[in-house]
């Protein structure tokens, strides 16, 4: 029996010789359990060794293999050829990020934004190691757990037209990470992060498209975190008139 084949169209961009990306078609052997990164591996190993793309864990936890699959942000490891038999399969680099080479995006701006939101526990009171751990109840964990499951894959940025139109916007994952720390009972850094929340580029840059939550491969629901951030920002507007903030 001859091996079934499937056509895969892949975006190519070689900065040293191309002025713009172009699409290239490849025929890859088809199997029911074949993922998009399996197909890309086949192309790189057998058809064109110059193809560049990011990948690592193959099990949806490293967040490296985000691509646009038929125009939808997807993880290559979690997306299977069998679901594209009728539509054909086109793989492009993540939307809204500059293309470095082929399927590799420059996500530097996203990583800088993640750092900007102070994604670590901030304490106002001095606690020494001898004082022991900060205890947390399961109910307190529930307040932020979902938002802590982000793998920084960037699919939500590729899904967000507001980030695409203006990348000054902090974007879904960074605002979600900010919300995650603000909701953590051990954290006391809310006042240090509130200026980012309140800014035009903060939660108010979001127009609640909601596609970020739709494409998130980990069920983090960034749109929810941002809308709750808007509630926090509104409360802060009123409260800041009544009480002075902790100096940051």
């Amino acid at each position: 029996m001859s091996q079934a084949m499937m056509r895969v169209t892949v975006q190519r961009y070689r900065p040293e010789q191309d002025d713009a990306p172009f699409m290239q078609e490849f025929e890859v052997p088809y199997a029911d359990d074949m993922s998009v990164i399996d197909a890309l591996h086949y192309i790189k190993d057998n058809l064109d060794g110059t193809l560049s793309y990011r990948w690592s864990c193959r099990m949806a936890i490293c967040g490296s293999c985000g691509y646009m699959v038929n125009g939808v942000p997807k993880l290559g490891c979690k997306t299977f050829l069998r679901d594209y038999l009728n539509t054909g399969l086109t793989v492009e680099s993540l939307a809204n990020f500059p293309i470095e080479r082929d399927l590799v995006s420059d996500i530097g701006d996203f990583v800088e934004k993640l750092e900007e939101v102070k994604p670590y526990i901030i304490r106002q009171d001095a606690v020494s190691v001898q004082d022991g751990e900060h205890l947390q109840t399961p109910a307190q964990l529930t307040r932020y757990r979902q938002y802590s499951l982000c793998i920084n894959c960037g699919l939500c940025y590729a899904a967000c037209p507001q980030y695409g139109l203006n990348n000054e916007f902090m974007g879904p994952a960074a605002l979600t990470l900010l919300h995650r720390y603000n909701q953590d009972s051990r954290d006391q850094g809310r006042d240090e992060r509130i200026d980012i929340v309140n800014a035009e580029e903060g939660v108010w840059g979001c127009t609640f498209v909601g596609y970020c939550s739709e494409v998130c491969p980990k069920g983090v629901d960034p749109a929810a975190a941002i809308q709750q951030g808007k509630v926090e920002s509104s409360k802060d507007f009123v409260m800041s008139k009544l009480r002075p903030r902790r100096s940051s």
């Binding site: 900065p15 990306p21 125009g71 470095e100 596609y211 739709e214 929810a224 809308q227 709750q228 509630v231």
Partner: protein
Amino acid sequence: MSKRKPYVKPMTASWFLNNRFHTLYMLREGTSVFVGLYSLILLWGLAALVKGEAAWNGWLGHLQNPVYIVFHVIALVACLYHAITWFSLAPKAMHLQKGDQKLTDKPVVIVHYVAFVVASVVIIGVVALGGAA
């Protein structure tokens, strides 16, 4: 020397047509145009009411025009579409949990629909009673 030359894909004016989710989002936002126009027509009616009976009857006469009737049907559909999409998104704006379990979206959505039905019944009832009186 670096051979880096990051390429930025331009975002065209028709970006929202490339993806069904984005198209529906723009449709949702677009409903505000009809809701806004409807509000202006209602304000015009209020102004006519203040001016007196002749102006009020003139406004009512305008509303008999098929163009206005078609517009109101479209505005009603737009308003309902906006309400339905909003009801489905509303749970995201709040975090509800019982003990250490996060509540599902369903109760919040149901409460919105119940409030919608109760408000509609009350308003239609008041209008019907007012008309009868």
